[in-house]
């Protein structure tokens, strides 16, 4: 039966609400308000996890987000599982199941613990020096390494939770709701500034809110009572939004910050359902006040990692805030007065404090006196040299320090029994966010801290994150900073009567001496990654000098806590070893996020159907109703083919292709890009952007155009129609529309601003049905009876305005299939009725809807290219055998100059050709490579198949390909070199069908 270590009631804990939870399969009880850590401690459970490398038993080190050790898997084997959750952060809820990580079979008996005994062979970077023999065995070694590494387990099922994003613009963002954050928020809000106050904890008030020392008073009240009152006042203010359980993750330039608001993690599994779990706040703040406080430092000595060894501030918080005793025999180990504060506080709650081990030579402050008065034994000028107890601390050994603190005054070892050791190694300002924002630090030698020096944006740091540690200076400096920063004359905190102890004495020894050789000890610097002081020294010995090298070689600071506890010690040990000052060494980069952020939060709603919206044509519903299969093209969903009666794709495409040539087909061409071009210089503009000439295009005529990049390579193509003297409509490829518009605008605005031309994207404004085939004319005649469709009035490559039942439409007689063909454009919302009208009118001709696949087949029969399929950004129009479209007369057009470079003029470039197979039923694979000989390896490749189909209209396999020097190889036999066979092909002209274009005009 475990003990109940709940020693007192706390206003932060709701003792009327019992909550049951499971840890490693066993049921425990805690109260509402408990974290998993406080609840476990109240049940006398200290052993929570195993370390990363040596699998050493580890307990709870802290009471906050900096926790390196007590990380657990929650709700294992469910969709709601989450690895690497800090027990010190997660609030318990009914139904919570948590388990230890990185141990097998159990946290109490972990096979991996053998690594602890092998540790002499596992110094920093050992893996760089071994596992190299035999050469091909690395993957076997690696298998073992991989399986012993890793902490928790990834979820195996999709996440049922919902995440969200919110944009917030505010005048002032205050990060941290400790005493200074409360002061800042109140001051800002009272000065009519729209203020946002965020804190990662559940309660406002930071550490002050549970401060109960008699020595610390504000206006003669206890500081906690005073702050409680301030908070009450604060909550009454308008234009202030307060969010708790909200952790600022990243501070980017221009005061752009990301914060994660935790909304349901503390609720029972039932209450969580259908609620947003976490929300990413994207904050753009005019001004930022950083009040992130500071983190207590551990001490670095041999075996400083056993369950029961924790930060002194954590011991205090568990007692004062949660009402939990972290041990029954407590000892503190300190280099400053903090531990006394904690010791006195818990002693007054009836929790036994055996002793305080203080490395300072002769500490003598109000606190030390009070501690001694309370009967707590103080070991001055002593250090802990070792600790004992495998799964829980049993005792510690201490020795008296020498004058310089690097060795001992004598060889006496005192052993003190204890089950909890509270370490107080001083404080590290939490400057992480400040540095993320680009802020530069300076080092303060007196107490060995990095503090903000130069602000990169409109921000200020206040309180202990700015290096103020005593309450009076915290309050006075904060008040002063606020006045300057917010440009105001006074704050509510100008004349407070603050009483607090003034002793700042600290004796900083980064690596405490040991009575054993360093090599035999384990003084942990980074608990989670098991990086010790000797690892750091080894790295230095091996020539790794830069802090970044040491960090990477030893993995110090690279765990899930990102070295919040140990980084300063690493710096200190490096500096001491190298004989330089910490300030000269600089820090490593603090990289976002401050605390790990779920991918779900980062992504918010942008999952599933909202990941990237599809664009659908006005006829889309018809395609769905008629069982079309769809192809994704760019952002569009396009009908790919329309299988009937369980047809295969091949059968459907063959049927559609045949129907289009034999009678009539209809294609939804709405996705093609459409750009409306107007202005007196529109013709000149087209002259410059297309390779061919446009000035002489008559009104009402259409022309195919090819657009190049400035490097001479084909970029896009399409038909452009001259609607009026100064009005054109350009079509582009489906995927290229946005880029083409962007490119045209760029040239127009930046290179040719003198041209009177206006561009508008009208892709979405029109729906386009393309009706083709020998009967297309009859169908059109039924739909638009009063339009004269004679070749004289409406020849190929021309355009007419018309009306279908009073609905205006533009009809182009243009063809991508080689058939007599019309493209009918109507206002988009009439698209479906246009389509249905065409279907009705075409019924007697068995009009067949066809999709993109058939369109591709039909155009391939005609040798028409598809940009992006038959070209790959390296093809010029000459390569495509489209010399005819390149104007020789025009002085210039985009890309022209590049066509005359030495390489682009070469005769043996890859050129577009047709291919036919010796076996007419053998269809080539698109992407297949073309060779002359299949030996030797590497095989010389001449080109590849770009488009390939079985043509039902020619009853044979046809393909387009690009082949080196292909233009001059007509009739040449070549080989398609497949993995398991060679296919014989012959190079032919790329136009396979109706070379004379008889059908276009039929």
């Amino acid at each position: 039966m475990s003990k109940n270590l709940r020693v007192q009631t706390s206003k932060f804990i709701d003792e009327t609400t019992n909550i049951s939870f499971k840890f490693n399969g066993k049921t425990y009880y805690g109260f509402k308000g408990d974290t998993l850590a406080s609840a476990l401690l109240s049940n006398d459970v200290h052993l929570v996890g195993r370390s990363f490398k040596y699998h050493r038993p580890r307990g709870i080190m802290t009471a906050g987000s900096e926790e390196p050790n007590a990380i657990v898997q929650t709700n294992n084997n469910t969709a709601l599982t989450e690895p690497n959750v800090r027990a010190t952060e997660i609030e318990i809820y009914e139904g919570l199941e948590a388990s230890s990580q990185n141990c097998w079979p159990s946290v109490k008996f972990d096979i991996g613990g053998i690594n602890n005994f092998l540790s002499p062979l596992l110094p920093a970077g050992f893996y760089y020096k071994t596992f190299m023999w035999p050469a091909n065995f690395w993957e076997k070694y690696e298998y073992v390494i991989r399986h012993s590494a890793g902490l928790g387990k990834s979820p195996k099922e999709p996440d049922p939770d919902i995440y969200d994003h919110r944009y917030i613009h505010c005048d002032v963002l205050v990060i941290g709701a400790g005493i200074t954050g409360i002061m800042a928020a109140k001051t800002a809000a009272k000065n009519n500034l729209k203020t946002l106050l965020l804190d990662e904890k559940t309660e406002l008030g930071g550490t002050t809110i549970y401060q109960d020392s008699d020595h610390i008073k504000i206006n003669n009240q206890s500081s906690s009572a005073w702050l409680e009152n301030e908070i009450t006042e604060l909550k009454k203010l308008n234009n202030l939004e307060i969010k708790t359980r909200t952790s600022v993750a990243a501070y980017h330039g221009y005061n752009y910050l990301l914060a994660r608001e935790n909304l349901t993690d503390h609720l029972s599994n039932n209450d969580k359902q259908n609620k947003i779990r976490q929300r990413l706040l994207k904050i753009r703040a005019k001004k930022v006040i950083v009040a992130t406080g500071s983190l207590e430092r551990p001490m670095v000595f041999n075996n400083n990692d056993r369950p029961g060894i924790m930060l002194s501030s954590a011991v205090k918080k568990y007692a004062d805030y949660y009402g939990v005793a972290t041990g029954q025999k407590n000892i503190f180990f300190t280099n400053n007065d903090t531990a006394y504060e904690s010791a006195i506080s818990i002693n007054n709650k009836g929790i036994k404090v055996e002793a305080i081990v203080d490395i300072r030579e002769n500490p003598n402050s109000e606190f030390t006196k009070e501690a001694e008065n309370l009967g707590i034994k103080i070991y001055r000028n002593h250090t802990v040299v070792d600790t004992h107890g495998y799964k829980k601390l049993n005792n510690i050994s201490i020795m008296e320090l020498s004058k310089d603190g690097q060795s001992f005054a004598n060889s006496n070892i005192i052993t003190l029994d204890c089950d909890c050791l509270g370490m107080a190694g001083g404080w590290t300002p939490a400057v992480h966010l400040f540095t993320q924002s680009g802020g530069k630090l300076k080092f303060r030698d007196e107490d060995q801290v990095f503090i903000p020096n130069k602000y990169p944006s409109d921000q200020v740091s206040v309180g202990s994150c700015n290096g103020d540690f005593e309450l009076d200076e915290i309050i006075n400096n904060t008040s002063k900073s606020l006045k300057e920063f917010l440009n105001i004359n006074k704050t509510d905190f100008d004349n407070l009567d603050v009483q607090c102890p003034k002793d700042k004495e600290i004796r900083n020894i980064w690596l405490l001496p040991s009575n054993k050789v360093l090599g035999k000890t384990k003084p942990f610097v980074d608990y989670q990654n098991d990086a010790t002081a000797k690892d750091i020294k080894l790295a230095l010995r091996e020539g790794f000098k830069s802090i970044e090298h040491v960090k990477r070689y030893t993995t110090t600071g690279m765990g899930t806590d990102q070295g919040k506890l140990g980084n300063m010690h690493a710096l200190g040990i490096i500096a001491d070893t190298a004989g330089i000052k910490v300030g000269e060494l600089g820090t490593t980069t603090f990289r976002p996020p401050y605390t790990p952020l779920t991918f779900g939060t980062m992504v918010g709603r942008n999952v599933g159907e909202y990941f990237d919206a599809f664009r659908r044509t006005p006829m889309n519903d018809w395609h769905i109703e008629n069982k079309a299969e769809f192809e994704n093209v760019g952002q569009w969903k396009r009908a790919w083919y329309y299988p009937q009666n369980n047809e295969t794709m091949h059968d459907a495409v063959q049927r559609e292709s045949k129907a289009a040539r034999d009678s009539a087909g209809i294609l939804d061409a709405s996705t093609l890009g459409k750009i409306d071009i107007q202005g007196t210089d529109a013709s000149e503009f087209l002259n410059r952007v297309y390779t061919n000439a446009w000035s002489k295009l008559a009104i009402g005529k259409c022309r195919y155009g090819l657009m190049l990049n400035e490097d001479g390579m084909v970029y896009d193509d399409g038909v452009t129609t001259r609607l009026e003297e100064n009005h054109y409509i350009m079509t582009t490829t489906t995927g290229g529309a946005a880029n083409v518009l962007g490119k045209l605008e760029d040239y127009l605005q930046t290179e040719w601003p003198e041209l009177d031309v206006y561009l508008s994207s009208v892709t979405d404004h029109y729906a386009t049905a393309s009706v083709c085939g020998p009967n297309s004319k009859k169908i059109l005649n039924k739909i638009i009876p009063d339009l004269d469709l004679s070749d004289e009035n409406f020849p190929h490559m021309s355009f007419k305005n018309a009306k279908i039942d009073n609905i205006k439409c533009r009809v182009m007689r243009i063809s991508f299939t080689g058939e007599h063909s019309y493209e009918i454009n109507v206002q988009a919302n009439f698209g479906k009725s246009l389509w249905e009208k065409c279907m009705d009118a075409g019924q007697e001709f068995k009009i067949t809807p066809y999709g993109t696949e058939t369109m591709h087949l039909l155009r391939a029969e005609k040798g028409f290219i598809i940009v992006g399929q038959d070209t790959d950004g390296t093809m010029t129009p000459i390569d495509l055998q489209m010399d005819w479209i390149v104007s020789k007369k025009k002085y210039d057009f985009i890309g022209k100059r590049s066509l005359y470079r030495s390489d682009t003029m070469k005769e043996d470039r890859k050129q577009l050709v047709g291919l036919i197979t010796d076996n007419p039923s053998e269809v080539l694979e698109e992407g297949a490579q073309i060779v002359a000989n299949t030996n030797p390896t590497p095989v010389e490749m001449l080109g590849h198949v770009t488009s390939s189909y079985y043509s039902p209209n020619l009853n044979k396999s046809i393909a387009l390909a690009v082949v080196r020097g292909g233009k001059n190889m007509m009739g040449r036999k070549l080989i398609i070199a497949m993995e398991n066979k060679n296919i014989n092909v012959t190079i032919v002209d790329p136009v396979f069908f109706d070379k004379e274009n008889v059908r276009l005009n039929a």
């Binding site: 760029d746 601003p753 590049s898 005359y900």
Partner: protein, 91 residues
């Protein structure tokens, strides 16, 4: 993520804009007169400045206007904005 002040719309997130690279590289008026090397200079060669750069931006998800900016590429601080055709301000 920095902010850019579009001269036509005002201050907006950088993500609304498309970068257009180094500014004031004028397209040669007579490309055919250039050697391959000179044409390559225009096409491909860039100063790629570390420091204060004059560069082009397009308010792609806004007014779609092109304009110029003076930006310190070492810290992405925008020093000035000016319209196409205007002379760069001296910084």
């Amino acid at each position: 993520m920095f902010l850019i002040s579009c001269p036509y719309c005002g201050v907006r997130e950088q993500s609304e804009f498309k970068a257009g690279g180094e500014a004031h590289i004028e397209r040669p008026k007579q490309p055919t007169e250039l050697s391959d090397g000179e044409w390559a200079e225009y096409l491909f060669m860039r100063k790629n400045i570390k420091g204060i750069q004059l560069e082009r931006w397009n308010h792609a998800h806004g007014c779609r206007k092109w304009f110029n900016a003076v930006r310190d590429t070492t810290n992405d601080e925008i020093k000035a904005i000016y319209k196409m055709g205007e002379k760069p301000p001296t910084i």
